[in-house]
Symmetry: C2
């Protein structure tokens, strides 16, 4: 049968506008025995032992765990989440909780509920790189605000909102942020700033999406109350996850929001319910009292990893600067201005070390001399060797470009 | 702080257009000891024993199964899918396979890749009710085509496409269908119709989304080759799932499509990879030779369920008509014209039986005297008792409305 347009061209795929506008950055390679500081993966020797929970789930609760699950999640897990959050002063009932396939799934649902193409979204510069394609797939306009050592600059948010007000709107729809141990910078937003941001969100009817995966991975100091703990007008959509406190592979997280939002999300979730097996394994694991000792182990490991990485940074790359994060998984490294971390990456990979270039963390452009190092996945020995390799790559790159060489 | 608009109204949620246009049908209640013919749930006594696979996955492969998974899925499972599909004459390589959180997730990704608001989608009338909110969340225009005993009426599709051609386009983007044991009607589309539809899809550059969950739940007769087995121009996006052949709760399915499509889907999937634990459990279960005997058990059970339900229908509701499906999970029942199955539902629930009214299966309106009964979940005794209850509800409804009463 003849092609209707009479040409081969008709047979290229007719993608949606969102896909045509979507940047597809090249993957950071996995090849060889490269040491990886790229992804926020869990440290393999600290993987939780979930075997007993799985056996329990698959034998005494086979009908529950192998059947379609309730769209909103297992009632036992929704209740568990409310108890867990109560300790953080977030007062929610099970009707406020939706179980999802990881926090990223929750972000996708928040976008689906609120974003029309062209709606403005406020993010920090830099922001969590994986949030960007999720947001982008809804065609938003990005407003970038900066951070300092106390976190997101609420003054900049307020200036943007006031400008909208002067222009008669429309106001941004979503403020997305990791307030506790920000990804990638490690910065924690102070309580006064959280409260002020929430006031603005209420006044201008903007939703705050509070992505909070790292809260419990704290090495020192006191946690700041979640933004949602201060929320009286249901302007916060909280995103939580078991990825960083039990295991990423279980793909179970939660959304906390107004019951109306949770009900709508459950309908457009359209996935037959989040896996009841992994939900039940988590309930059993936590009920058996294994969560808190496990988190203690993780915090000890990651604190040591952080310290070793900071030490190696000082030793091998003294011209680099970073903040010393009090928790989380990452160092956000500022390199000298002549280092373009996108250009450096292939060379670093040839030297056997992987990282994520800073450019991936900006919604709309940013400096080129930053990079993110995850200290979570690699062992102490790998961190030592990986940092040596990174320094060697930097040194090689500078020699290749010659004195005063740019690009 | 005063609300910017000075009124309470500003604090209603500013949902996206897609959410404002989305119908939210009231849930079919779960209360009491009602016998459920509503959802396509698995028969609990036939739940697979996955314990050994889980123990294997969680002990010898702990680092793999508790870590983030590769976005496209575990290589072992992608390979397994290609081998499985080769037996159905679908020739794909692992690069054509994306592992997803169930077939519905695959449909969502297909919509994300292809649909702009207003793009036309072709569906059957009736079609799978859960596909509708997924499609609707992308704001499409629906074109409904009818079916007969040989399946989807390709003549109607062709007439629609020719009309587009005369008008200079745009052509529909997606044809969505369950070709084998259609949900809800049970109809299987014949091979000549599949081939003609594929020719049309190629000629007019429309993607066919072939949702194929029930293929192996066949009681009699020979399977028809999947549409994808006939595809030479990558116009088919195949959706497969382990839900109906192992267990719904595992939430693992697959998409088969051109490598370019699979790569793009993997990026916008943005979920940290589908759960590697349930993926690995499936690989181990299948490698242990447990899949084929399990499918045999399921087919025997569901065939018996179908037979009992047909027998009870003839006994208790002789005025109802249905097709005798050769496979799948459902009976699609035509009731006399004076029965509105939406009106009947609350009464049926008070009589202790649940079903889905036919109206839920139409993208844009349809007759009111149909209903779908799933024979998968309930036992033989429950099917017998449930059908008696349904007949009692119908009889009560007619008495209440009096002779000649309509609505």
């Amino acid at each position: 049968m003849k092609n209707a347009a009479g040409s081969e061209e008709r047979l290229t795929f007719r993608y949606s506008q969102r896909m045509l506008e979507m940047p597809f950055p090249s993957a950071v390679g996995h090849a060889g025995d490269a040491i990886s500081f790229a992804e926020g993966d869990a440290y393999p020797p600290d993987m939780a032992d979930m075997t007993a929970s799985a056996v329990e789930a698959l034998t005494t609760r086979r009908s529950e765990t192998l059947q379609y699950a309730p769209r909103a999640g297992l009632p036992d897990l929704r209740r568990w989440v409310t108890d867990y959050l109560a300790k953080e002063n977030v007062r929610v009932t099970p009707e406020n909780v939706l179980i999802v396939n990881g926090a990223k799934h929750g972000l996708d649902l928040a976008c689906k509920l609120f974003l029309n193409p062209g709606d403005a979204v406020i993010v920090t510069a830099p922001t969590y790189m994986t949030a960007l394609p999720i947001l982008r797939s809804y065609g938003p306009r990005f407003i970038q605000v900066r951070q300092d050592s106390e976190g997101l600059l609420v003054d900049e948010v307020e200036a943007e909102l006031r400008a909208c007000e002067r222009n008669g709107g429309p106001f941004p729809k979503i403020i997305y942020n990791v307030f506790e141990f920000h990804n990638p910078t490690g910065v924690t937003t102070s309580e006064p700033r959280r409260a002020r941001l929430l006031d603005l969100a209420e006044r201008y009817n903007v939703m705050i999406v509070e992505d909070d995966p790292y809260r419990r991975i704290r090495f020192e100091g006191e946690p700041v109350p979640p933004v949602q703990a201060l929320d009286r007008a249901n302007r916060v959509i909280g995103l939580g996850t078991f990825a960083k406190i039990i295991a990423p592979g279980l793909r179970v997280g939660w959304v906390t929001a107004a019951p109306e939002i949770v009900r709508k999300m459950a309908v457009v979730k359209s996935d037959g319910g989040t896996c009841p097996l992994t939900q039940r394994m988590i309930v059993e694991y936590c009920r058996a009292g294994q969560l808190e000792p496990h988190i203690k182990t993780l915090v000890k490991t990651y604190e040591m990893h952080r310290d070793v990485m900071l030490e190696m940074l000082a030793k091998y790359l003294p011209e680099a600067t970073t903040m010393r994060p009090s928790g989380g998984y990452y160092l956000w490294i500022q390199m000298p201005e002549d280092i373009d971390t996108d250009h450096l990456l292939p060379l670093a990979q040839r030297h056997g070390v992987r990282y994520l270039p800073g450019s991936r963390f900006y919604a709309a452009g940013g400096p080129r001399n930053y990079l993110r190092l995850a200290y979570s996945f690699s062992s102490v020995e790998e961190i030592q060797e990986g940092m040596r390799r990174l320094a060697a790559a930097v040194s090689k790159s500078r020699k290749a470009e010659g004195p005063g060489g740019g690009h």
